[in-house]
């Protein structure tokens, strides 16, 4: 008889709206800070950002709402060759994570076993966010639910209202 799979208690899961993932490539002439300033000037919010400088130059990824895609493509057109888009994507966020390595390990083992695309991961002590295909978010919930247990009165996965700066 198989032993029961251990589940980790978490506070909740949250799914995002439809997003676009941008991979930003800095160069001598173009720095990420310039791209971010242009996006800010046009009031485009970045949902999640990961930048690193392994080879001395800072570059990375960010996400934005799918509804901002056309505007972003237009305003970032001046940075030709410096970005790639993956769409449509979405995120699943697990919270709180509380720096539990065992939880993170179990999640990624389950994710890898399910074969879902994994475009971006960002985890702090409070939450873990995984970016995958937007159409596969329900599958992502199934995979994550094998590893975590949710409270009885857990709120809906998709937010029922949105805060937007105008």
């Amino acid at each position: 008889m198989d032993s029961p799979v251990r589940k980790f208690s978490v506070g909740g899961l949250k799914l995002s709206a439809e997003l676009v993932l941008l991979r930003l490539k800095a160069s001598e002439a173009v720095q990420i800070v310039h791209m971010f300033r242009v996006l800010t000037e046009h009031q485009i919010n970045l949902i999640g950002v990961t930048l690193d400088a392994f080879h001395g130059r800072l570059d990375g990824v960010c996400s934005l709402l799918a509804e901002d895609r056309v505007k972003a493509e237009k305003v970032l057109g001046i940075f030709q060759g410096c970005l790639e888009m993956t769409a449509p994507v979405g995120t699943i966020t697990v919270f709180p994570v509380q720096a539990r390595i065992e939880l993170l390990s179990a999640l990624f083992a389950a994710w890898g076993g399910a074969g879902l695309p994994l475009y971006h991961i960002a985890s702090s002590t409070s939450s873990l966010t995984i970016t995958t295909d937007f159409q596969l978010l329900d599958d992502a919930v199934s995979v994550v639910s094998r590893v975590v247990s949710l409270p009885e009165n857990h709120a809906p996965f998709r937010p029922e209202f949105r805060v937007k700066q105008i």
Partner: protein, 174 residues
């Protein structure tokens, strides 16, 4: 139904800056098809020390490669003492491009609706660029901004951030 609220913010407010020093950071690049495996290996290697993971990022590079950054608080070792995690990582990441940096520093901060507002990441990155702060990793996760910096750079980074973000003084409550 739509609710609209107005407020003026001449400089972005934050709840405060928090710092940690003496941390360890590994960065490794691997094929995208093996992401789950290498993320698990990195976590398992660090877990042997009983440490807490403070930050984990994995993101795409060009041509089917991913880059992982894992930040944790490793117990300080005596000078000359062996680093068992380093040797574990050497075995797990054999043949890959990777590095481990010791005694790095973390500064993080959050504010109201940071995840819903434009301009936060730009303000933070602009502060770093204006002061030549050498960022190793920068991440915006939810409503929190994280900076990972080389040893000794936490204080200068905090100073540069203070020019773009303000911690309001608390009012006395009678």
């Amino acid at each position: 139904m739509e609710t609209i609220a107005f407020y003026r913010e001449t400089i972005i407010k934050t709840y405060g800056f928090f710092e940690k020093t003496g941390l360890s950071l590994i960065t490794v690049e691997f094929p995208v098809i093996q992401t789950g495996m290498y993320v698990a290996r990195a976590l398992d290697s660090v877990s042997t020390s009983g440490s807490s993971v403070l930050l984990l990022t994995v993101r795409p590079l060009a041509a089917g490669t991913m880059r992982l950054n894992l930040l944790w608080d490793e117990e300080e070792k005596e000078r000359g003492e062996a680093d068992p995690i380093y040797h574990l990582l050497e075995q797990e990441f054999k043949g890959l491009r990777w590095r481990k940096e010791k005694e790095v520093e973390l500064i993080f901060f959050q504010g109201p609706h940071y995840g819903d507002r434009y301009g936060i990441a730009s303000a933070a990155l602009g502060a770093a660029a204006d002061s030549d702060v050498p960022l190793l990793v920068a991440a915006c996760i939810g409503a929190t901004v994280f900076w990972v910096l080389p040893k000794g750079q936490g204080a200068p980074a905090r100073e540069s951030l203070s020019r773009a973000f303000v911690v309001p003084e608390s009012k006395d409550r009678n």
